[in-house]
Subunit: 215 residues, 2 copies
């Protein structure tokens, strides 16, 4: 990917517009997150290139700003990958509100985080089912869906789901809002047969938008 980015920079120098497409073929595996204990990238700072089970062990009370330098990550409210979860992609998050998952439930902390190893934006496939245990109507997804209902899904809930490849993030409300649930092909064997398996904070099968995760 770095090579691609260099190529795009090269094009720009020649004055051509760069056509930005979803090139993420195979991720090199160089994950990097930089976390800070003050807002706006101030205060104590630490770089991680792999998972962190409890940021307090590194002298942090909490993380108040962060920068993703490469890879896609999941942040968790509590230690040991518990509590509300939220996807973190490349870019700058100058305050908690910029990375916390939900508008509905304000979290003020990120205590653990890990890379999403299986994220593969090009080859993402999942099947959603109306009811738990892979029953009822089903829909096959391989794209981004800001409104499942606009795409023909029957209601505002998903009872169970199966990830064949890649990783997705599912949201409670349309337009990628509300609670986030990150679903990966290499966790739970890609099978999420009841909404309680969506995440340790999931209280309802309500899912109204879904998108792929990119590295």
């Amino acid at each position: 990917m770095d090579r691609e980015r260099e190529m795009e920079r090269g094009e720009k120098k020649e004055g051509k517009g760069d056509k930005m497409t979803h090139h993420c073929t195979k991720f090199s595996g160089h994950w990097k997150i930089i976390v800070f204990d003050e807002e706006c990238f101030q205060g104590r700072r630490h770089e991680f290139t792999s998972e962190c089970c409890n940021v307090m062990e590194f002298g942090f009370e909490t993380v108040r700003s962060l920068r993703i330098e490469s890879g896609a990550w999941i942040g968790y409210e509590h230690a040991s990958y518990q509590g509300q979860q939220f996807v973190l992609e490349r870019g700058e998050y100058p305050q908690c509100d910029a990375f916390s998952g939900s508008n509905a439930y304000h979290i003020e902390r990120m205590t653990s985080f890990r890379p999403i190893a299986c994220a593969n934006h090009r080859e993402c496939r999942m099947t959603i089912y109306e009811r738990e245990n892979f029953l009822g109507r089903k829909g096959e997804l391989s794209d981004d869906y800001p409104s499942l209902q606009a795409m023909g899904w029957c209601n505002n809930e998903v009872g169970s789901l199966r990830i064949q490849s890649g990783a997705f993030v599912c949201y409670q409300y349309p337009g990628y809002r509300g609670y986030q649930y990150i679903m990966e092909c290499d966790r739970h064997c890609g099978e999420y047969k009841h909404f309680r398996e969506f995440g340790s904070h999931s209280q309802t099968p309500q899912i109204q938008s879904i998108r792929r995760i990119q590295q």
Copy 2:
């Protein structure tokens, strides 16, 4: 689109999975939003099939829940399409937090709203520029970009932009978070030459994710 949905229902009855793809060819133009003055679709209720400049004129103090039955809409914090703006696509929004735009700045009201007439998910094209007045490096977009930086964009800002077709929503932070700016090909002649034109609440050129709007 309704016919397509019917077809998908037909398939489901036959027990086949429905392949949900971005079919939104040409929108029939039947916009419909239902607003409520209490949470969870309770209290005073009103249906709209076209724009509403001030919901207070219909006896509402504010809107606390809403349902989009068809079309894509923009909601605004204040009357006369002013203040923070947020995209509304088909689905259910049982409380303010479900539809308000930003995690960073909590709005508690939606006072005006209107359909996004030019939203055409299939043919969306825009050009982003590094600096104001369409200067500096540029990037051509025709897809969804949860992280502009992951796709090769140089920094966390967009100085100006031009919409050739369709409508997009631009977000302050990666992963479709933070302030929203809705950009349409048939507003401002599709030209947004300074971040102050992004919206009446825009205070910075910071844009880190962009996606197309679907009807």
